[in-house]
Amino acid sequence: MLKSLKTSLAISLLIASAGPAFSEGLGLGRTATIDEVSAWDIDVRPDGMGLPEGSGTVIEGEEVFAERCAACHGDFGEGVDRWPVLSGGQGSLTDERPVKTIGSYWPYLSTVYDYINRAMPFGESQSLTPDEIYGITAYLLYMNDVVTDEEFELSKANFTSIRLPNEDNFFFDPRPDTPIFKATDPCMSDCKPEVTITSRARVLDVTPDEDDGGAGSID
């Protein structure tokens, strides 16, 4: 992808200064340079598109993780306080309180590389080298029992051969999934026999300003 992008860029750079006819557009903006595109084009896809050259082992990753990540995510990815949990939770997705982690929930490994590269460490994003990110990703695979060998090395070459266990459990949005009333009007009177209160906010009482002690997550 990057290669073909470079080819098409080279061509478009050649014709860029000509100035487009009106039928081709409004002539606004300028052509991006190859260096500009590669400076910002950091995204990685499940098919490996966007992965840079590099590699890192579980053990190398553990070191970087301890230094750059563990303060929030815990030494083993278990999460400190309410910072996100990154490992464990396998088999919990049908529980009352599911634990959604890289190992238990995430469908693709490329997301781990992409997200750490673009957003972590929190407050100092885009400060890790490709080798460091490959190593951290290998370490997180190890902490989630996807790989079991401490010597395991993750690289651009073997990256797409690794599959996460929950990949097949995602399916496309089937909504609308509740009854649609197009032809028939909804019920207007005597819609149910009697009405009783089945749940009250008072019972949990976690509204701010009253009690700050609830538990939950928005996302």
Partner: protein, 443 residues
């Protein structure tokens, strides 16, 4: 705008008769109570009346107020106006236990303090993942690349040279009402429904920008990326991008607020707010979704069987009564009462809103007032004569596709309680009497 509709008031005509005097007395009667009623009344009247016989009446009328007598500030005092100090309680609020810290967090629009359909810019709920990026517009660029004929870079000046459009659209976070899946939890529509706002955007069509770069025939997806330190990304199908997405630089007539993505954000009408990338800096065309963190780990809906829905983009029809509600109980006794709320749908306009006073046993058509715009908030009212007895208030919206807002139990029966996102179930408020409303669920 062509899709405006007018809705007739119904179910209210027989209730107007007895109520008029109570309603007109409302505000002054309240200030009476606040001022300490009868004794202060007599005193105020006495001071003012001097020798004459003591006047009786409202001190707000009988006494001279400061603003009746003295000069106010001049035109230089408030170059950018702010609300009256008497409105200082009208603010966005945070629920601190929701997130680990306030940098990657959310606050909520005070819906119970607002009216009409447009959300004031400073009260629009905020959700950001790395704090508010303070972007210098002179240093901001928007890049389009990937499967295009010509990768392009635009400055803000360039963007403003495309033909502009104005549209009012609601933005709702997919996690709005997400804390209520397991039962009534938060006392206030600000917290249960406040991750929504409605803005008049000015911007340019994304399709115009893409045409300028020339999308290659195999391009079918678009990755939108922000310039903040979370470098937020979402994959958007090209069909939607070309249909109605807007690259917006103004809200409610002025530049975007930093909290809303200044200097430029993506507008994805009717779809979940997370896709409306703020501080928009990059658009890449590709032939497959990127499966990034915000569309895999987050914004996927876990079902009871452990499987998960993905790409749940559209926001289903929803409504909520904003007054009365737990933070805004009825402050008067029985008599003429205004019930109001908001309704919206990511699939079009709202055709109709019904209101129930008895927990869903019987329903009355509410009156939609103000413009009925595509994928925008709608304001509804139900004016009735309250008998002073407890009420179980509900509202149910029906959109222009015929979709009817479901009950919470109907939603749970298809989705379980772990999906976090897309809870558009019917809300119940228990009005216990004057001064008290609670968030409840009913059978």
């Amino acid at each position: 705008m062509s899709d405006q509709k007018h809705h007739q008031a119904s179910g209210t005509s027989d209730q107007h008769v007895s109520a008029g005097s109570e309603a007109s007395k409302g505000p002054s009667r309240r200030s009476f109570l606040r001022a300490g009623a009868a004794s202060s009344l007599a005193m105020g009247a006495g001071l003012l009346a001097g020798n004459k016989a003591a006047a009786t009446g409202d001190p707000a009328i009988l006494e001279l107020q400061d603003w009746n007598q003295y000069l106010g500030e001049g035109v230089d005092a408030r170059p950018y106006g702010t609300p009256s100090p008497f409105e200082e309680h009208v603010v966005r609020r945070n629920v601190s236990w929701l997130t680990a810290d306030p940098i990657s967090s959310v606050n909520f629009t005070p819906l119970h303090d607002l009216d009409g359909i447009i959300t004031p810019s400073g009260l629009c709920f905020e959700r950001h993942h790395s704090g508010i990026a303070e972007v210098d517009p002179a240093q901001h660029r928007l890049m389009i690349h990937g499967m295009v004929d010509k990768p392009l870079v635009f400055t803000m000046e360039d963007l403003k040279r495309f033909p502009r459009e104005n549209h009012a659209y609601f933005l709702e976070c997919a996690a709005n009402s997400g804390m209520e899946w397991r039962g009534a939890q938060l006392n206030g529509c600000q917290f249960t429904h406040g991750m929504v706002h409605n803005i008049m955007y000015t911007g340019v069509r994304l399709s115009h920008l893409l045409a300028e770069a020339g999308v290659k025939p195999k391009g079918s997806w678009l990755l939108a990326e922000g310039a903040d330190s979370s470098t937020m990304t979402r994959s958007i199908p090209l069909e939607k991008a070309l249909d109605d997405c807007i690259v917006a630089f103004a809200m409610n007539g002025e530049a975007l607020r930093p909290e809303q993505g200044y200097p430029v954000r993506l507008v994805v009408p009717g779809w979940e707010g997370n896709m409306w990338v703020k501080w928009l800096r990059r658009l890449e065309i590709g032939d497959a979704p990127w499966q990034h963190r915000e569309e895999t780990s987050k914004y996927t809906d876990l079902m009871a069987d452990g499987r998960a829905r993905r790409f749940t983009w559209v926001m289903d029809a929803k409504s909520v009564i904003t007054n009365p509600s737990p933070q805004a109980p009825l402050m008067h006794d029985k008599g003429q009462t205004v019930l109001t709320g908001l309704a919206w749908s990511g699939r079009g306009t709202i055709d109709r809103v019904d209101v129930s006073l008895d927990g869903g046993r019987s329903w009355h058509a509410a009156r939609i007032d103000g413009p009925s715009l595509n994928k925008s908030l709608h304001r509804f009212y139900f004016d009735f004569n309250w008998d002073g007895k407890p009420l179980l208030l509900q509202s149910r919206a029906i959109d222009s596709t015929g979709y009817i807002q479901p009950t919470k139990s109907a939603l749970r029966s298809v989705r379980g309680e772990n999906s976090i996102y897309h809870n558009n179930g019917i809300q119940t408020w228990h009005v216990k009497g004057p001064g008290e409303v609670e968030n409840v669920e009913v059978s």
